[in-house]
Each structure stands twice: as structure tokens, then as C-alpha cells.
Symmetry: C2
Subunit: 145 residues, 2 copies
Amino acid sequence: MFSSTTEYALRAAVFLAEVREGYHPAQSVAEATKVSVQYMSKVLKLLVESGVAVSQRGPSGGFALAKPPTQITLLDVVQAVEPVERIMSCPLNLPEHAHELCPLHKAMDDLAVVAQNHLRSKTLAELVQQSIVPLGISAAKRASA
Amino acid sequence: MFSSTTEYALRAAVFLAEVREGYHPAQSVAEATKVSVQYMSKVLKLLVESGVAVSQRGPSGGFALAKPPTQITLLDVVQAVEPVERIMSCPLNLPEHAHELCPLHKAMDDLAVVAQNHLRSKTLAELVQQSIVPLGISAAKRASA
DNA sequence: GTATAAACCGATATCTTTATCCGGATATCC
DNA sequence: GGATATCCGGATAAAGATATCGGTTTATAC
């Protein structure tokens, strides 16, 4: 259903929503989400390019959400890395289906709409576990902090 | 959203629902769906292995649906080639989420359920365009028949 | 202004998906 | 029972997604 890149992007976004204030280096995001720093850096870059996150270079730099978690939906994150695309014209290019999707592609497009609506209805804020520990910060690590 | 393999499988299933009686060689399915015979053969094999279609070797052989189109849903076809998987446990393996999905993966699993239900609600029969020409059989080809 | 922490960027490696090729097995038709 | 149409299966190729590596730039802190 979702590619691993999308899964990583969602984990990262939720993490940034949980930790909140300040910049968090890719290193921290990577550890919390259990993804390699190298790959997580690429994913974070996608989030920055799409306006979901912002980045800051240099010491005490890192990544942060571009807007409050209440204003970022799961769809924003998904579209940043692997857009759920609507089907606008028949991929078969049949003359019969030039101006109206055939029933099959209509059904597939319907699902795209349903999926988009579902993802749009959830904000990052709703996924933050206030009372629980931040995503991926394990008991051992917390103890040492 | 869907891989090309899934798209091909759906096209093939709709085609078989449209042409109805008898076996149809991979060649015919491939032409109608605008996919190479070689690749379509592999996709059709997946449909056979999952019980959506049946195959028959030799002259006047080919492929046909295993059940009437009213009894085959889009979900049957999709699950045959690229299952929409439920998320049963937290991929992060966090102790906190051992027996309950974290909100993120709960949301993702919810979408999987919504998608499955959507696909299950449409049968191949509902996608058949009775009054129109079969999928992919163009005007030129019809004229020559 | 120097040292350092961090994002950035391009090159490469690995794995998966998609696609093609070709010989073999099997059923049908005459 | 032989010729033929078709599915079947394995090997290979090409493309894309995933992942890693190393160097470069930029900002911060002191």
C-alpha cells in the first residue's frame, strides 16, 4: 500500500510533531524512526522541498515542521514523497474514453479520492501521543538521558 | 497508488468479464489491454494461481474467469497480484506498541481497511460496458473482424 | 576567525519490479 | 499420431526504488 519511503516520511513527520520546538538533526530523526541517517536525510529533504518541513544548517541546526502539527495532514506528508495520483484520463487512450473514464478507471480514481480524503482528515497533531514517550525513544535511551 | 502490474491485472480481468464465454489466449488479452504478451502472460498466471482465472492449454485454449463476473470483486484481483496488507503490529517494534498500534500505524491500517472495502464493493460485472465495445478493441480492429 | 556541527549534493551499490527471450510441455484438431 | 496452438518456466535484461559513501557548503558557537 505504502512504499517504505512514504512510511519513513510519516514516521519523521510524527516525530517532529512530537518533539516540537527547535531544530532536530537528521541524526536524531533517524534514530527515533529506526532508519539510516543517510536515507532519512534524503526523505527529510523531500519534506523540505514540499514545504512540510524546514531545515537549518550548522550547529544546533536540523529539521522542524514548517507549520504547527494541527495544520499538517497526513496527505501533505504523503504527497511530498509519493503522490496519490488522480486518474484524469484513460491510460489506454481509447477514443471511446476520451472524455469520460471507463468504469474501471472511474473505480480506481474513486479509490484515489477516498484515500486522499482519508489522509486529509488526519493531522499530525492527532497522532501525537501526549502521555506516551516520543516515537522511537526507547526506555534504555530515556534512562540514560 | 497502484503498481503497473495491478493495473494490468485489472484490465485483463475486465476484458475477460466483457468477452465472457470460452477461452481467450494471452495474445488476445494482451492486445486488448495494450500490454506485451510476455508480461501479460505472467500477470495472467498470477490470476490463475490465485483462483481468479483458469487456463487451458493447446489450440482453442487460453484464459477465462474462474467464476461469473458477478462473483469476482476488484479486491480479488488486486489481492492476486499485489495484496493490500493490513498492519498487524508496529513496524518499529516498540515495546510501547506491542499490543496496540501507535496512532500513526492505526491511521495507516484504517486506510488499508477503507481501501479493501472499497475494492470489495465493486464486482467485475459492474464494470462491464454492455453497450460499448470491449476494452481495447479499437474501431479499426472491429471493422476488420 | 577558526573549529565544528550540521544540511546538501553527486556518485555508486544493491535490491525489486518490470519487461523480454526462448525452449519445453501439453492439449487440440485433423 | 503428427502438426499446431497455446500455456508454462527459467534465464536474462532494463529500469526504478532503496540504500550507502564521501566530499562540499553553510551556519553557529566560542
